[in-house]
Symmetry: C2
Subunit: 393 residues, 2 copies
């Protein structure tokens, strides 16, 4: 097992009506002027906005609203937020939303005390983060896991590059996770969130170090929870326990058990490939992942001999496959994954997802520009094109 | 799933030679006068003491040593530590040892700024803790999980009552977990530590709420890791990956995934029963747990109808039992647990562990004085005697 660091300083308050503690939490942070960030307004239709405003009213704080953060948030969103924080002397950010709102809010929190432009803090530039406004979150959509980690993903420039910002100061101070807040999330976005969380677990589970038994065992448990509960949500969107298990599973999926733990290479190749689809077609992240994952696995199985044993363990421990032969087991696991994707109502190929065949080369070139993707096997432009092509029909 | 709070603010540095970061960690805590706590001196025989002193020498701190903390640490140990901290104006405690040293150090850290006697801070009194000296740990023995949680267990009074202290301020600021530091732990104590961790997972896994699928799934993964790796350590005490997996498994076993998470009843009945054995016979905690656990499970199986399904799931998911019938599966699981205990070289009954039959009634009375034990089924004096008696031969 390789060396690693670990810690989850965010205080999670999980369960129904945990928002009742909002005033206490803000008081402990000595928040006085709060920037309330949210997205396109769905929280005004499902009652969450009222609940938040009511609790903020009881707390002795000034509130400045910052609505309209887009999904796949841009640096323009972030820069607007930074300006408002500076103009209004904001001392705390409260993000109410899913991964997009939380990620944008994290970038705002880092950008406010930074003298240069916030773009300098992306990627390797995250090391320049020396302070950040404290941030709390109220989660309304499960999937990204941003509520319990120190990362953010921003969309940058005309070609919508996805670039991350990661720093310990970006851990939220608290996150309120109320499963009932996800009852009204559409089936499409609910299932996409489930697959996003599953792929966080899968991609880290597949990294080469096989000595990380604790982490792999915990991963298996969380993956199996997603496989069982995602269809339950599709059948009944207000199934509390199913929503609760999916919400906590997606928090656990990216809370640092995986990539800090004995897996020194943080590399999610399918995530990189999927980002190009989201950029070009505005395809929901989790949908893009689901369409690509089986093809990537078949590709890896053909190209990386070590993956046979790894995928076989995955098939047996997560999908309960019994095949003795490793390659047979691995292939059966991929088939069952495909059946799961179909059961979630997701498209099973890029064509069905509306992607034009003639754009595959462009997608492969853009993905390769991110640099080679490691993990199970090396992926450059040629390999990316192979995977996109295999996913097309 | 019931509501819960969660967070692990302790920064864990896991792996070989992480002690190199000690100076950095102390610097970040602005430590100037450090109380170095340790036990009976084994760290002077295995080189850990020198390594710590060398790193402390590079850090710009004054060091006051506080050796001699006993296993099953007493309030007398704690009071001596508090006096020294006050006399020497200590501002940071560095605990080097296993659960006993860390637990005593946590109690010292809470006692120093407290005006009354430290005993007042035990059990419900923990709520009175308003501040605590910051604490860091260097773990030298795996099992209790104290290095990554906010609890401590103290031995109080002439009849050696075990009473806990739990408060968020008792989370260590950092914990250095170097698996090589456990290479020289005796087989006896290594195996006892493995079983201690396993029983933390088992007892929380068995609590009635079956909707906690994420937590149960993570628990299963950690339990299976212990089952695989404990025998590897017995065969080869310097097997790095086995030591690493056991060290991380025991940290994860009590880091708050279990009892904060949807399991509102924190109740480890076998732990309570085992404490009496440790008090009367100075029996190693993990050994006492191993001797009692199968008898407690058979007792619960007979008395609590709900436990049949729970133990069957345990048998299937953790021990890979295939029996279709729940009761058969549950019983097969208990048998496999007993085989595991024998494989660890532990006594399989209280008689073999040196317990006199005529003391069982006394043990049952003392256990019942702790109040009724809940969990799977209610346990009072009569039930405790049944379990002790069944464990005797």
């Amino acid at each position: 097992m390789e060396n690693f660091f670990f810690g989850i300083p965010t205080r999670a308050l999980f369960g129904s009506n945990q928002i009742q503690h909002l005033g206490f939490l803000l008081g402990r942070e000595q928040a006085q002027r709060v920037l309330l960030t949210y997205g396109q307004g769905s929280i005004k239709r499902n009652g969450i906005y009222e609940a938040v405003i009511t609790e903020l009213g009881k707390a002795d704080v000034e509130v400045v609203e910052f609505p309209g953060i887009q999904s796949n948030p841009t640096l323009e969103d972030v820069r607007r937020g930074i300006q408002i924080c500076r103009a209004k002397d904001i001392d705390f950010i409260l993000a109410v939303g899913g991964g997009s709102v939380i990620d944008a809010s994290k970038a705002i929190s880092a950008g406010v005390p930074f003298a240069g432009d916030v773009q300098e803090l992306l990627a390797q530039g995250s090391a320049k983060i020396a302070e950040a406004l404290p941030l709390g979150t109220i989660l309304t959509m499960a999937g990204t896991g941003s509520e319990l980690n120190a990362g953010a993903m921003l969309t940058v420039g005309e070609d919508h590059k996805k670039i991350s910002m990661i720093h310990p100061l970006l851990f939220p101070r608290f996150s309120i996770l109320d499963p009932t807040y996800t009852f009204t999330v559409s089936e499409h976005h609910s299932m996409a969130g489930c697959f996003d969380a599953l792929s966080h677990l899968m991609e880290s589970y597949f990294l080469p170090d096989r000595t990380t038994e604790v982490q792999d065992g915990m991963n298996e448990g969380v993956m199996k929870t997603i496989l069982r509960n995602a269809p339950l949500i599709r059948a009944n969107p207000t199934d509390y326990n199913a929503r609760a298990n999916i919400m906590w599973a997606s928090s656990m999926a990216l809370a640092g058990f995986q990539f800090y733990l004995g897996k020194s290479v943080i590399d999610f190749p399918v995530h990189t490939l999927s980002h190009e689809l989201s950029s070009l077609y505005d395809m929901t992240h989790g949908v893009a992942l689901a369409v690509l994952m089986p093809s990537w696995m078949r590709f890896a199985l053909a190209k990386a001999p070590d993956s046979v044993a790894t995928f076989a363990v995955f098939a047996r421990n997560v999908f309960g496959v019994f095949e003795q032969d490793d390659r047979e087991a691995a292939l059966r696991g991929i088939e069952l994954l495909e059946e799961f994707i179909v059961a979630l109502g997701m498209p099973s190929c890029l064509r069905d997802a509306g992607v034009k065949h003639e754009r595959l080369e462009y997608l492969a070139r853009k993905a390769a520009e991110e640099g080679p993707m490691h993990g199970v096997c090396e992926i450059g432009e040629k390999e990316a094109l192979e995977i996109y092509s295999a996913s097309w029909e």
